[in-house]
Amino acid sequence: MTRNPPPIDLSEPPAIEVQGAHKHYGALHAVDGIDLRVARGEIFGLIGHNGAGKSTLFKMILGLVPATSGEIRVGGATVQGRDFRAARRHLGYLPENVVLYDNLNGLETLHFFARLKGAPLAQCPALLERVGLAGAGKRAVREYSKGMRQRLGFAQALLGEPQVLLLDEPTNGLDPQAIRDFYATLRELQAVGVTIVITSHILAELQERVDRLAILASGKLQALGSVQALREQAHMPLTIELALNDADVPAAVLALAPLQGLTSTAHAGGLTVICPRDAKMAVLGALAPLGTRLRDVNIYEPSLEDVYFDLRKG
């Protein structure tokens, strides 16, 4: 099941625009020439090994780290310089593995960040409720579980109704229900035009939930597109599961014999066929003569994880 990405309007200025961005620390090229445009209202995934440059790119977009060269704009404006305060009021950020203040309670934590961000304090209780911490607002953060801390961090990022959200490993430490709730919130935000850039090491989680994603390796953009586009780019084979009575397996093998580039493996209850993407319809056509002897067909796309490792192999 693939989500239909919303129509991306490239006529208006992109929410985030990265042009020829470089960040060099001496000989280390943490970000090495990245061009990227994220449209308004897009959920954009950023994936890569540790040290691939994701966090540095985040910090460059936030204006925390000046680019060695290149240009970065958020909402058409630079995040540094004279107007940086206005630009940053519209940004929400959740850093990776952030530890908030143990001695404050949940509500005090949000109040502190709301004051700094210039957001109304009245938003804070509603945000706690939105991330499922309504009952824990008066408890010290010291007593929070890892998942609760992460949710508090997310609530902090939502202060001031940001137009752009940058979330570094936001689901770290969340349980499955909380992950589901988290992505439901992201979709609500997307519906009102919020642009979201998200990183995760759990690729299965991003697979169904991002409109597009970029794979970063050694500071370079290795691939960019929707999950489906990356699958096509990776030329990875499909897996087709045929459910057959054992007696009908030889007939199926015979039917597929004329086709090139297939691998078929018989097993109890059917046949597994691995075929190139463009041979899918040919395989289905070749199986048509079997009629109802073919009891079921399932086609499996390669997972984002498979695609990721394949593309990284280069």
Partner: protein
């Protein structure tokens, strides 16, 4: 510069120190130590009991010169590096706040906590001893309290500088202790050693100016020269040129010791 950003940070730092009873604990330490020193300070001369304000201040100066730098350094070393290690520094800096505002907020909040505990601690002693003091005595004692606050602020400024320059808390705490050893224990020994080794022939006057490179010594000069009796007690008059024996000048040097490390910290502060 937006002052409400500075006050938001400062307010949090100050409230943290009130809430975890840091201010109370340090104030009590000051009170207990200074009462003990005021009472037993003359034991080496064979007497105990409260004596003149000058004796009390002279004894307190020797206590404060060890204690306040240590407390200020321990208070401040964590200011920035702690946020960095927690991962919250990037978050703070992603907000509409400049690095200078963050740094000043941290400094002012911690400075308020240190100032309050110093004034409360020594102020309580003044209240307890007010019968021994006349008005002139109270005035001098006020000067001593003020200079103690300045001493604390100078070492707090150094601590914040160390906190900005390091990337690990353990390293920052090590450097804070090393700074204490250097300024409080080693610096005077080195100067004295140089003076003795050269037989006092080289730059007797220069040595006095070198004392200005150490806020602890500035504090000593500030207190020693504000009181005639204390001056005779210390017998230091001979090495400090009269040009330096002006409280306002020493106060200005101390202010320099507060502003300069902070300025350096702001300059070197990178996310």
């Amino acid at each position: 510069m937006e002052f409400h950003q500075i006050f938001t940070i400062a307010g949090k730092e100050f409230r943290d120190r009130m809430r975890n009873r840091w201010v109370l604990a340090v104030a009590l330490v000051f009170t207990v130590f200074s009462l003990a020193i005021a009472y037993f300070g003359g034991a080496q001369q064979g007497t105990v009991g409260f004596r003149s304000i000058e004796f009390t201040i002279a004894s307190l100066v020797s206590l404060v010169i060890y204690l306040i730098p240590l407390i200020a350094l321990l208070l401040g070393f964590d200011a920035i590096v702690g946020e960095r290690e927690r991962g919250s520094l990037d978050l703070l800096l992603s907000l509409p706040i400049t690095r200078l505002e963050l740094l000043l907020g941290k400094y002012l909040g911690l400075a308020a906590a240190l100032t309050l505990s110093t004034l409360a601690g020594f102020g309580l002693v003044a209240v307890l001893l007010y019968q021994q003091f006349n008005w002139a005595g109270l005035f001098h004692y006020g000067g001593f309290m003020l200079s103690s606050v300045l001493l604390g602020l100078a070492f707090l400024s150094l601590a914040v500088l160390l906190s900005v320059l390091t990337h690990e808390r353990t390293r920052a705490s090590g450097l804070a202790i090393a700074a204490w050893f250097f300024f409080v224990l080693v610096f005077d020994l080195l100067l004295l050693g140089a003076l003795v080794a050269t037989g006092g022939s080289v730059g007797g006057e220069a040595v006095a100016y070198l004392l200005l490179l150490n806020p602890a010594d500035v504090f000593r000069i500030l207190n020693v020269f504000s009181l005639d009796d204390v001056r005779t007690l210390y017998g230091l008059t001979s090495i400090v040129p009269p040009a330096l024996a002006k409280p306002w000048l020493m106060g200005a040097v101390m202010a320099g010791w507060i502003v300069l490390p902070l300025g350096l910290a702001s300059w070197r502060f990178k996310p």
